[in-house]
Symmetry: C2
Subunit: 200 residues, 2 copies
């Protein structure tokens, strides 16, 4: 009988190896051969997932996104039915901050991707759609809260852009060791307080 190949398992194996070597030396310095060696598989197998540097960077970011989304999904599910917008957004944003070693490793990969694509706009373009979807979701939550009585102190679209910028900026500061976790969480809560009012 031929050996059964589990695609998802193999993808996770390659992804884990990529995350480990990226955490050690930085994603920019990683090659396909490093990843193959770390995963204990052939370069040919890694090439099934990415062949060029651009594809490796995009693969790495897609892994980080999937894992973040899975964590957000779990955290939001744990809130039960119909959480209010502020509670929902806080749970989501906290999961996306690099607050533990796993999320820090993922955050470093995301940051390396951003630096890489800042000089290669075509590679960054693949992200525009996802960014727009996330922004629209956050703006929708702010709009819903304002419809339910939160004072309309901020335009929902501009407020969503600012809130996601806070997430991005706090992530960068945490990765650089500029803030301890408590400071970043206090800033996130201050931001939510500005948009949604102080919690009652």
């Amino acid at each position: 009988m031929p050996k059964r190949v589990d695609h998802a398992e193999r993808r996770a194996l390659i992804a884990d190896a990529l995350m480990r070597v990226a955490a050690e030396r930085g994603l920019e310095a990683v090659s396909l051969r490093h990843v193959a060696a770390e995963a204990g598989v052939s370069s040919g197998m890694v090439q099934h997932y990415f062949r060029t540097k651009d594809e490796m960077m995009t693969f790495a970011l897609s892994v980080v996104r999937e894992r973040g989304e899975a964590r957000v999904g779990k955290a939001v599910a744990a809130l039960g039915a119909d959480p209010d917008p502020r509670t929902l957004l806080r749970a989501m944003l906290v999961e996306l901050l690099p607050l533990d070693p796993v999320r820090r490793a993922e955050g470093r990969v995301a940051l390396a991707f951003l630096a890489y694509t800042a000089v290669r706009p075509a590679v960054a373009a693949s992200l525009h759609q996802e960014t727009a979807v996330l922004l629209a979701f956050v703006a929708g939550q702010i709009r819903a809260a304002q419809a339910a009585g939160v004072p309309p102190d901020v335009d929902p679209d501009a407020g969503a852009t600012a809130l996601l910028a806070v997430l991005e900026g706090l992530g960068v500061c945490l990765l650089g060791g500029h803030h301890p976790a408590g400071t970043a969480l206090a800033a996130l809560d201050a931001q939510l307080g500005l948009i949604f009012g102080r919690p009652g």
Copy 2:
């Protein structure tokens, strides 16, 4: 008579060459030799400013910081005597957003530095002091505004952390082409509105 060597001029020549090659291929991929070739000087002269990759990254960031500070200084001086805290901070933050080609080139260098130091905490540590000084300055401005009658909707320290995170996050989004300039400025103004109240 020996040729007069103007240190500041030579430093600016090396810095300009570094910015140009970094803008083309990304700072991570740049070597001392690339910079020397671009500047039309010897590698030995470049080594006067940096010898290792770590030193090149730190030199590049110090150039970006100095140029940003010079622009901020000019913009603030143009406001005349005693600008109010919100006006002062807006002028400062707008100068630090990558809104034109020069500032975008500088922003890419700063982003490359952040990605590089995220896996090399010792190199990032050189920045902690500067970050703390900037945070304290912004917090002081928020405190002054609140003392002068702005409703204390936010803790000044947490609000300063959030505001600088917005700057960082909007910068990253602009560099990735996720937002046009107008969207980023609207988010910045929304953020200032949340902290300082809507302009009268």
